[in-house]
């Protein structure tokens, strides 16, 4: 990842954390960079593994804490597609997820324009903060693990 991009996102991150009363620490910055540098959908464990490469002292508790902080200040999203580990996504553009039930991979998918996000009947006093849309199915053809072509 380019340095200017790193710095830019670092500065922005600082502000975003501050807005929620959260502190800007080297661990949070590092974990954010780890997520930006490989834009897939790693579990906390996987983030831990990647983060340790540059920061071997980092602990799992800090990974969870940092992920929660990043989710809270809206720079990453938590993705829950199944039982088992939550995944984290640094793509903050409006998008949905497609989870292949055969190989377990999660793909970002773009919503077609028109009414992109579905409208729902909610009691007036419910406050919506975020919407998660996930598809389940098979990705076969795109994915070597799903075999058959």
């Amino acid at each position: 990842m380019a340095t200017d991009q790193l710095l830019a996102s670092g500065e922005s991150l600082n502000k975003r954390l501050a807005e929620k009363g959260l502190r800007f620490t080297s661990q949070r910055k590092h974990i954010y960079e780890v997520l930006l540098s490989q834009r897939d959908h790693p579990s906390a464990e996987e983030v831990f593994t990647r983060a340790k490469q540059a920061k071997p002292e980092i602990s799992m508790a800090t990974v969870y804490n940092s992920l929660d902080a990043l989710v809270k200040c809206n720079v990453i999203r938590q993705v829950n597609v199944d039982r088992g580990a939550a995944m984290y996504c640094s793509n903050m553009n409006e998008h949905a997820h497609f989870c292949c039930d055969d190989c377990g991979k999660v793909f970002d998918v773009n919503l077609k324009d028109s009414p992109r996000v579905p409208e729902v009947d909610l009691p007036v006093d419910f406050e919506v903060r975020s919407i998660d849309i996930s598809f389940h199915g098979r990705c076969s053809g795109k994915c070597e693990d799903c075999g058959q072509n």
Copy 2:
């Protein structure tokens, strides 16, 4: 729950399981009835607790196995809103979920007509089997745990 409803759903369940090559067992029937009889969003643990009331011998492994079987044959849905336990939903009408981040409760919410389910750009060879839509936010006012009115 009325007996005829039980019997009807039992028969239908048998067929649904068979279609997927799964067997109709008293445990699966019982767990399905447990889910139908209280239409909230229990975790596997909670299903276990409820199932034991009438079938004290039932085991946790069977609960998980049965829930998976019921999900596979499309008579219930698995709901993943967070880290922590998955929840199970016996409402198979098209609907979304609203999860209150403050009290943790999950509500069924109806999609407004028009294009109810969002369209996405998927590779042609992806096969969609199901769509999960969940909202996060606060339910305050509807919920004693969320206080303040």
